[in-house]
Amino acid sequence: MELLNTRLWDEKNSKSRNTNEAYILKNELGSGTQGTVYKIEDCEGQELAFKAYPQLYLDQDSNIEKRIRELAENGSPHHAFLWPIQWLKLTDGQRTFMGYTMPLRGSEYIPSTDFVNGTRPLEFRTVITAAKNLADAFFHLHTQGLCYKDISFGNFFFNPQNGDCIICDIDNICYSGEGGGVLGTPGFMAPEIVTGNARPCAGTDLHSLAVLIFYMFYIHHPLDGKQETAIRIMDDIARRKIYGTDALYIFHPTNKTNCPDPGTQSAPLIMDEILPKRLKDTFKKAFVNGLKNRDHRVVESEWRIVLDHIEKNLAHCSNCGQEVFIDKYYPASTYQCWNCKKEQYPITLSAGAEKIMLSPGVSIQDEYGRKIGTIVRHPADPKIIGLRNETDIIWLITKPDGEGQRVPRGKSVVVGPGVVIMVNDYKMVIDQFK
């Protein structure tokens, strides 16, 4: 398109036209009803994203410039947000582009829809980490008195390797309860917004966040049960019923009228057999007690505790390689793998007084809290897991039969009961949790 590589300058600063303080518009990154995002380069060669609003949108939301300027001035509450850097009115002499600059989203981040579509299956641990990052980001946003208003999977991206999150479309953020902007995305809006009885605030964000976290674990909507299946044409009248007036949790403990339909809604039924009780209880709180009463919704600090807990109790099935959530591991007991049904004890690593359950992605620290290694899957056989050395120290291994091994940086040692790892004089013992 002929706009590309156009030289733009700040309209308020006419000097910049003639100096080097101009921006180069590189290419379009994406567009939607709220505007178009371009990659631009500033005079120092730094690449940024620039979101330009269509005039129609600026007319509809007259407060937006003031809001974005304030957000930019106050600074980002958490690194996950693609927070505005500066409001700009750029021109090439003929056209003007009004909007704001923000950091670019790294190419390692995938849209959350790629994950729920099933195109990028993830380890449960990555899903937990992503949910923790979301909870942290919204904790910081909400404790600053702000609300986001449009939490949905369209606005969030994550790194499939480590669960790092990016939250974009910060356009609607304002002080909780203040007007302007959107109502949200259908399906993610709190029931009281759907029925027209409330406007978005931090309390309604909590419902949207719970829906998003539920979607990440169940690949399904928490209110899409038999009520949804019974509807032939899913239009906004139907959505108003399912997500508003007649909203009912699909796993409601007593009212079973909206339970999932096994024929068309198998995902939540499959996942409900896999997920741990602690997490399911938290969803119950969010979608039974908290569904229509926002004071009973699950706050981010509670998500954080629950997610930390289930992360620590994620085991590895050495028979089939799946990750297994363990509800009760203390006092010691065996667990059954949800996939291959084998009864077994979790594999653990003991160092000092600490005992850590091992499964892919677990990070291991030394006595000073420095990261020394990560549990990884064997590239040739994902059922086998090993501890990768991420230090410059050569680890000395004693295998169960007494044989010695040396593990340099980047190499991994297969973990199994009886293996002893020495990092200088720091001793780690692999065992089964008995």
Partner: protein
């Protein structure tokens, strides 16, 4: 590791291009612009389908000249949709085209689905009984709930705006006027992405609007230069 058998629940979203290929479309490069605009809209539609994980987007196309014919039928998933050029000649049997769509909506919809999306592109006046077909559409359960966008093509005075407006009954936006090929490309792109989102996700509007109404969002302004006429 993937969980065996885990799949997101999807509903079909049936999308219909209803395209005018009457004789008047052969002038001023209109038909060429139409072919290119539809072809250019495919990548954006694939993207829109991906961002609506609960929707399974199926695309159909019907053309009307001296008679109405399915150009793409049965519908194909957007991921495997390939546009083959159409050429223009004959009269404007828009009513017959709408009848073909009604046949499909009445007989072949799955038991659970998202509202169908109908995108009509035409440069003139129907030469057959359009209103009879329209009333059939209005009175069918799927037709009544469909998301409909009409794009009038060419000089404003030549387009039958009354027909376009009646086609867009109940929709919150007015028919679009594509005065040139740049407009057409933009509007087809808009219709094929925003209308898909309106059907699959529902209405996400500003606070002033009633949340229950499925209205189409505002049209983005043309960002490409004006100039070519057809």
């Amino acid at each position: 590791m993937p969980v065996p058998g885990l799949q997101i629940a999807k509903r079909q979203l049936n999308f219909y291009y209803i395209l005018d290929i009457s004789g008047s479309m052969s002038t001023n490069g209109r038909i060429q612009a139409l072919n290119q605009s539809v072809r250019q809209s495919i990548p954006k539609m694939v993207e829109a389908a991906k961002s609506s994980p609960n929707a399974e987007l199926i695309v159909h196309a019907v053309t009307f000249g001296s008679d109405a014919k399915w150009h793409i039928y049965p519908g194909v998933p957007i991921e495997s949709f390939v546009w083959q050029d159409v050429s223009a000649s004959g009269t404007t049997t828009m009513g017959a085209a709408l009848n073909l769509v009604c046949d499909d909506l009445e007989n072949n919809m799955p038991s659970r689905s998202l509202p169908p999306v109908l995108v009509l592109v035409s440069d003139g006046h129907p030469t057959d009984s359009f209103d009879k077909s329209l009333s059939r559409l209005v009175n069918s359960p799927w037709g009544r709930k469909s998301v409909r966008i009409g794009i009038g093509m060419g000089p404003k005075a030549e387009v039958d705006w009354g027909t376009m407006e009646r086609f867009m009954f109940d929709m919150d936006v007015a028919p679009l006027h594509a005065a040139n090929s740049a407009d057409l490309a933009n509007y087809i792109r808009w219709a094929s992405t925003v209308a898909v989102a309106a059907s699959s996700t529902g209405y996400s509007g500003a606070e002033e609007s009633a949340p229950a109404h499925l209205g189409a969002p505002p049209i983005p302004p043309t960002v490409i230069d004006f100039g070519d006429v057809f």
